[in-house]
């Protein structure tokens, strides 16, 4: 067992003065606090620690993983979280109901709309608010666009972590198109701040519609062409197949949701299981796969993109006329009570649980982020694989670190 002497602080520069200069071991400078920690930080025969992240070139966001390696094989790993922690839940408790949307955006910096959605859902439930139908259609339309953007980025990332150079840039072309049109709609390319309690911030405008029209006419073929580079690639398929296999039992027990759950064969989609917004009226399938490995997760997302295109098409054809905002006061004081909002995001089920005490600020806002849950399963999936696959397995779960650390 690696022994530790008590030191004043890990950041204290005086620590370095006395220390014998040697290799940096990613071992915490305090005695192990739990049995698990003591077990993990005890090296076996021929094992070594490798500190992967937070500055590793392929960690997604600011995640640090301490790997225990035996040669190239990962024996055990310990994700170290908290590099992005800002205490958003606490900040939300001290913010006006309208301002909270803005605070939530950076938690999900790949597809921000899905972090705003459960919040406005919960707030609308508290206020017993009827959202105009046009607003709901616009929410679904922009949300599905954002889902495609997120999935497109996932495909590129996954390939990049397997060593492919080109797919990330090709998928960024698609993402850029979508982000540009969402920028025209919402005013921002990344952190949209678009959904409002009772509606959306702005109506569909000409630039958005013309961009969307020209993109929709070639989106299906374009995405097909992009995925062809990977789907028919022997090296990619051989590496991704059987990688990080998660079975149905494990997925259900670990509360995995979203594409990662559906890749194990469970057809659970919040849009169908607990319908919200206008999804009951729309015609789309919930694609599932049974393998549960990285390849299945990847292919499932490709299928989801196709379904999203279908939904967007229907939204555009059925878009009703009318207001985009319900009539609500500037200062909201909902009734005291509790509300729950859940949506199906590209990553899984985003959930917000809100308690109101009748003031203009929520008493408590609990954010449930699926990325956190999925990262928890990395500890089950990675050990036994090679160090090369660590990041690939993580990428196949598609976490966003903003929501993990909150």
């Amino acid at each position: 067992m690696v022994t530790h002497s008590r030191q004043p602080s890990a950041d204290d520069p005086r620590v370095l003065l006395d220390q014998e200069i040697g290799v940096f071991e990613p071992v915490p400078p305090y005695p192990p606090r739990t049995e698990r920690e003591a077990e993990f930080y005890t090296l076996g025969d021929g094992e070594m620690f490798v500190n992967m992240g937070p500055q590793h070139p392929s960690t997604h966001g600011v995640l640090r993983i301490v790997l225990k390696l035996n040669g190239e094989q990962v024996v055990d790993l310990d994700p170290v979280l908290g590099y992005l922690h800002r205490g958003v839940e606490k900040i939300c408790e001290n913010s006006d109901y309208h301002h909270i949307v803005n605070q939530l955006d950076p938690l999900e910096y790949i597809s921000s709309l899905f972090m705003e959605w459960p919040y406005v859902q919960a707030a609308e439930k508290l206020l017993d608010l009827e959202v105009p139908r046009r607003a709901e259609y616009i929410r679904v339309l922009s949300g599905e666009l954002n889902r495609i953007a997120s999935h497109a980025l996932f495909m590129g990332w996954f390939a990049l972590d397997l060593g492919g150079l080109t797919p990330i840039l090709w998928s960024f072309i698609e993402r850029d198109e979508i982000v540009e049109m969402l920028g025209a709609l919402t005013g921002a390319r990344m952190l949209f701040n678009y959904f409002r309690i009772g509606g959306v911030n702005g109506d569909l405008n000409h630039e958005f519609m013309s961009r969307l029209g020209s993109w929709m006419s070639r989106a299906a073929t374009q995405i097909e062409a992009n995925t062809k580079l990977l789907n028919e690639n022997e090296i990619f398929v051989r590496r991704a197949r059987g990688l990080g296999r998660m079975d149905r039992e494990m997925a259900l027990r670990m509360c995995v949701t979203g594409p990662n759950l559906r890749a194990t064969g469970v057809p659970f989609d919040v849009r169908r299981a607990h319908p919200y917004s206008i999804y009951p009226e729309l015609d789309f399938d919930v694609p599932t796969r049974t393998e549960g490995d990285s390849l299945a997760r990847y292919l499932l997302r490709v299928d989801e993109v196709k379904q999203s295109l279908r939904i967007i098409d229907q939204c555009l054809h059925q878009m009703p006329d009318g207001p985009i905002m319900a009539r609500i006061p500037r200062l909201i004081r909902p009734r005291p009570g509790r509300a729950y909002g859940a949506v199906e995001s590209p990553r899984g089920q985003y959930t917000m649980y809100m308690i109101s005490d009748g003031t203009d600020q929520p008493f408590r806002l609990r954010i449930h982020d699926p990325s956190f849950v999925h990262l928890g399963s990395v500890g089950r999936l990675v050990p036994g694989n090679l160090v090369a696959d660590t990041m690939a397995i993580m990428a196949s779960l598609d976490p966003v670190m903003g929501g993990v650390d909150k």
Binding site: V23, G163, G164, W170
Partner: protein
């Protein structure tokens, strides 16, 4: 002193350059002239006595010098070709079409801080890039680029190539070990495992050629393939060529076998802790290596400097202009015009902002440069050198493009897949190739 410095300060920049360079040149020229007059015969005597040594030194210097533009060109090609495959523009700021960017990269690398990490083994850490670079560049020495244009023609040329080229793995392991970094260590160990494994199918795949050619001299192997492209060994050894190409890709650490510097897995592998010109040497070696393995593939399997078909218009050195008659007039009148237009067309087509006259001027200048180069080559070198160099470079850069293309297309294989592939597929296939070749030689009685 003040008078001098004041006058110096009033000079413009061209003036300053002129008044330093011209006296310097005068002094150097006069001194050189005197030195040649005094020492010339003696030096010539010494050089003449040690001709093989002189030849070796000149060849080694030429190879070292040639490595730099080749690496620059390869880096530029990698940036630009992959950019096009990624649907990007790629470098386009420095120099025309971004061609000078790799030069700027070289300067940037020179200007960077060159530090050794704490705890690193200083000597080995410093030596590793040198070993890698030398191992790479010295294997250049035996590759023939034109009839008579090669560093050294050993009768064990291929053996020398594999022996010296195998030195690079020692350098990579040194870099991996001495860096005092676990990622570097993993990279170095991967390099060792990978290169040593792939050396075996690589070597076995060329034994078929050795049996056919009956020699290890690369020059002789190329000479054996003269004639039309049907005489190239790739048609007699298709399986061998395939195995060779795969194994040499792994040997050169190119995608999809670039596990030693896999950025998404082990940061930068053995090069993680390197910076400045040491990193530059490792980087250089990689790109020179890419060219060398391409040139070796061309030499062994694709006829080296042989043209793929007989040149339809034989130009012999003892051409008599008088015998051409009116043809000479047509040649002189038509060829510059067509040449200028042909060279101007790509520029004119490529850049819509370029006026026609500018493209024509560029075409005219380029044609003249090429014509002068051709005439000089004809007069002073030999026409065979020019044509041979042209063909071998075209073919070699075709393979460089192929390697870049692989990098732009394929993901990386895993280390266990890599090893499985080498030992379970490539090695038996290479042995099968060897067996079939030997059988064919015995049966056909060549």
């Amino acid at each position: 002193m003040t008078t001098v410095s004041r006058a110096w300060g009033r000079l413009t920049l061209p003036g300053k350059i002129f008044f330093t360079v011209v006296p310097l040149l005068l002094v150097l020229g006069l001194g050189g002239l005197i030195a040649i007059m005094l020492l010339g015969p003696l030096v010539l005597q010494i050089l003449g006595d040690n001709l093989p040594l002189v030849r070796f030194v000149i060849a080694a210097t030429a190879v070292l010098l040639a490595a730099i533009p080749i690496a620059f060109l390869n880096i530029f090609m990698e940036m630009k070709v992959i950019a096009f495959m990624n649907l990007r523009i790629g470098p386009d700021r420095v120099g025309p079409w971004g061609t000078l960017l790799s030069v700027v990269h070289g300067l940037k690398v020179l200007g960077k801080e060159d530090f050794t990490p704490t705890g690193a083994d200083r000597t080995i850490f410093t030596l590793a890039p040198v070993v890698v670079f030398l191992g790479t560049v010295m294997s250049f020495l035996v590759i023939p680029f034109a009839p008579g244009l090669f560093g050294q023609d050993f009768n064990i040329g291929l053996l020398y190539f594999f022996a010296v080229g195998g030195l690079t793995v020692v350098g990579l392991m040194m870099a991996g070990w001495a860096s005092f970094n676990k990622y570097s260590l993993l990279g170095g160990l991967r390099a060792a495992a990978q290169i040593v494994s792939y050396e075996i199918p690589l070597t076995l795949s060329v034994v078929g050629i050795l049996m056919l050619a009956g020699t290890m001299s690369l020059n002789q192997i190329v000479l054996n393939q003269s004639g039309s492209f049907l005489d190239w060994y790739v048609f007699q050894q298709p399986l061998g060529a395939l195995i060779f190409l795969i194994a040499i890709t792994a040997e050169a650490n190119r995608a999809p076998f670039d596990l030693t510097e896999a950025d998404s897995e082990i940061v930068a592998g053995f090069a993680t802790e390197y910076s400045g010109m040491r990193f530059g040497f490792l980087f250089f070696a990689e790109y020179v290596n890419m060219f060398i393995v391409s040139a070796l593939t061309v030499t062994l399997f694709f006829g080296g400097w042989n043209a793929p078909f007989d040149w339809p218009f034989p130009i012999s050195a003892n051409l008599d202009p008088a015998s051409l008659g009116i043809g000479l007039l047509i040649l002189v009148a038509v060829v510059p015009l067509i040449g200028t237009l042909a060279l101007a067309a790509p520029f004119w087509l490529m850049r819509s902002s370029m006026p026609t006259w500018q493209a024509l001027v560029i075409g005219f200048v380029l044609f003249n440069v090429l014509a002068v180069a051709a005439v000089l080559g004809w007069a002073f070198v030999s026409w065979e050198w020019v044509v041979g160099l042209l063909w071998s470079m075209i073919k070699a850069y075709g393979f460089v493009f192929f390697f870049v293309w692989l990098r732009g297309t394929l993901p990386r294989v895993r280390i266990d897949q890599l090893m499985n592939f080498a030992w379970k597929w490539l090695l038996p296939a290479a042995l099968l190739n060897l067996f079939v070749t030997a059988l064919a030689i015995i049966v056909l009685g060549r």
